[in-house]
Symmetry: C2
Subunit: 277 residues, 2 copies
């Protein structure tokens, strides 16, 4: 039996393998500056951090180590968001409480030190984020480890930090909502049939059709994010072709990365609940 | 920096990612009964065994544990041969002697207990092999762990066992020849340019063009193996198309698995020597 850390790593690998996942790197598509093989290397590098999470280390510390390992490839940020969803779920699974309430308890128990680790993780890779509101400028994640004094001054836990951006970031929203969408999509993966790489594509499209992707909002604006959501809905309804949408979004540089992060989390939950590979 | 165990795992993943690799599962091709995602799960499961090798455990023991982990997926044998090439190389690299002579020293130092572990590894998965000659019937690998009494009676080390099949098995031949072809192909990977998944394809084809694949001999006969070698040569010479050959060999059920095992070993050596992903 694979343990929780191994399933966490496998979830990262199955996420990027799933195809078509319109706009994202997948088994069949590279971006010009970001390749499938770099996601593979990212997942290899992340494993020791995931093992820390499974061994009961602080979630922030495990996450920062996972990101440090992930960044040991030349593509830059491959799985920052995916690790931010998967790491606390690995911790929850290893403590035998992989449920929405169990996962909520894990993230609600994070500390100020976890928040400092989270900021240090930004020192390893460039992550595309929006400017924070002026009153939160000292908590701009792009400050990386330099923000730790401000975090300690504010006594902000990692959960507090996530709550601050839950309305604009789909991963942070999962943290503050018991990973509701991840658990729901895990159910879709388990109820589906056929190869996992195709189930993954379908789960990704259902997630994308249900809510706008906040990474697309950050990079391409809200109108594009709304359009992508509508078009994913058309694919799910059998009115449009997923491969055509995939080709178009890659060409336009539209990359629903947050939906991929949730898909990785869903795959992890599904693997823990018996998804056969 | 990725350590030797991580590079061993990454080598397995990059091997199956390389495309086109005529006849084999790759990033773009599944077999009907064996899928890319099962190789991915195999590589995830193999990691603890590779870590044992890096930590100085006996090579046979590390290999058996890697195979046990690899087999935790529904596709059956995905990377038995690749682990048989990669595991001793991980041990050599972790001892800072990753060279033909250093790798030879590692495998020549294997013991009777390593041989027993090797046989136990066959209990985890079905591996396609030829019947042994009658005088070696008690060493038929398909006996698995039941052969250990015979191994102890004969005082056969794992290196001895490999020597017995070096003339009919390309992986065993690597063991008894300082992993010569693996090191040579690592040089090709490093001297090449472009994405690793394409370099991997080219290195695989050069290996396939140079010597007949012993797994093809076992499953399809020597005439087919000779034909595949010639046709790989034609691809390397620019006289035939790799994608067309890949489609044809998959259709015919011709799977040059030994060449893939050597490609994984070559990728490991190249990663240790600075191949950028």
């Amino acid at each position: 039996m694979r343990d929780a850390a191994a399933n966490g790593q496998l979830a990262l690998l199955l996420e990027v393998t799933g195809t078509p996942k319109p706009g994202n790197v997948d088994r069949h598509r590279d971006h010009e500056d970001l390749r499938f093989e770099q996601f593979v290397a990212g997942a290899v590098g992340a494993r020791p951090g995931l093992e820390l999470a499974a061994d009961g280390a602080r979630v922030g510390r495990a996450f920062e180590r996972a990101v440090a390992g992930m960044s040991e490839q030349s593509g830059g940020n491959t799985q920052f968001g995916a690790l931010l969803t998967v790491t606390p779920l690995v911790a929850a699974a290893a403590a035998d409480r992989l449920s929405p309430s169990g996962a909520a308890a894990v993230v609600e128990a994070t500390s100020v030190e976890d928040a400092c680790d989270f900021y240090r993780a930004f020192d390893h890779v460039d992550v595309a984020v929006d400017d924070p509101p002026p009153e939160l400028d000292d908590l701009d994640v792009r400050r990386g480890g330099d923000a730790t004094a401000a975090i300690r001054d504010r006594e902000a836990t990692l959960y507090d930090v996530m709550r601050l951006s839950a309305d604009v970031d789909g991963v942070a929203a999962e943290w503050t909502d018991g990973f509701a969408r991840s658990f729901e999509a895990a159910g879709w993966l388990l109820a589906d049939d056929g190869p996992v790489y195709r189930r993954t594509s379908r789960a990704f499209l259902r997630l994308l059709a249900a809510e706008i992707d906040t990474f697309v909002v950050t990079r391409n604006g809200r109108a594009v994010a709304e359009e992508v959501r509508r078009r994913a809905r058309a694919v799910c309804d059998g009115e449009a072709d997923a491969e055509a949408l995939a080709a178009e979004l890659v060409d336009r540089g539209v990359n629903p990365g947050t939906t991929a992060d949730l898909t990785a989390a869903a795959l992890f939950v599904a693997l823990e609940r018996g998804l056969t590979v």
